[in-house]
Symmetry: C2
Subunit: 144 residues, 2 copies
DNA sequence: CAGTATCCATGTGGATACTG
DNA sequence: CAGTATCCACATGGATACTG
């Protein structure tokens, strides 16, 4: 049995309690939205790549493999709007714009690491569970 | 300045380093997939509501407001496949099926709390950032 | 350079009729 | 009861031509 101190299930008996934490609560911005923001394919990558030094638009476009111009723009705007990215425009010709992760963003990234740690800890267990599940499905299929 | 010990930016200079953590790495299941799994609107709610006691299908359908039958089924299957949910079938008539969160799932939920904590800490800062951003946009619009 | 605007393909998810 | 199957609406996201 797992003996760690998971505080939450002790307090959360109902789905409403959980929704308080996940969906709404007293916060102006519900946690759900935060999750959505960073769950996107690109946001975390942008935060990380602007964490140590300011980056320019084209630089990010090159760094982040596979991102489209559209998605880069959209994600940058959203992150900037939420105060996770600082945008500095140098009014030169040609224009120069730099993006840099804010401290808030760095802490968010740190929080993300808790999840990646879980992932590292259990990834083989999950893989194993999937293998067994798929095996059972195949067996089921054969039987019919 | 933020003085906490964010370990990662120290180690992660390039986007490739970050991708190691977020996208791939040596794990059989990349963290990205885990994020995708729980980022969905319903997964966490299901995990929480099956955390303290087994729940039946219809029970979940009633508990989790707004979920469609289709999404409930899909999410349950995915969670079961990943070993996050235990599915027990009682071969009675009518059938009875119970779902229960595994220990792995509880730990995942615990990890999620780090994010909701961030959210609680910064939600007003984010809201404020948004307000300012939108205000600037409106002013910009007026000027044109 | 740093975007914006447009078109289009695909995926996601709701509603619901049907079934063992 | 516990699903499955089907249809459809909408959002997401890629490619890319164009612009200040």
């Amino acid at each position: 049995m797992y003996q760690g101190n998971i505080a939450v299930p002790e307090q959360l008996r109902t789905i409403e309690d959980a929704e308080c934490l996940i969906e709404s609560g007293e916060c102006p911005i519900p946690p759900r939205e935060i999750l959505d923001r960073i769950a996107g394919k690109w946001a975390i990558l942008i935060i990380v790549s602007t964490a140590r030094a300011p980056r320019r638009f084209t630089e990010l476009e090159r760094l982040i493999e596979g991102i489209s111009r559209r998605m880069l723009t959209l994600t940058l705007r959203n992150l900037e709007r939420d105060g996770l990215l600082e945008r500095t425009v140098y009014p030169t010709v040609p224009p120069k714009v730099e993006y840099r992760a804010t401290e808030m963003a760095l802490e968010l990234y740190e929080a993300m690491l808790t999840l990646t740690n879980w992932s590292r800890k259990y990834s083989s267990a999950v893989a194993e569970a999937r293998r067994r599940y798929d095996e059972r499905q195949a067996a089921e299929c054969d039987r019919l």
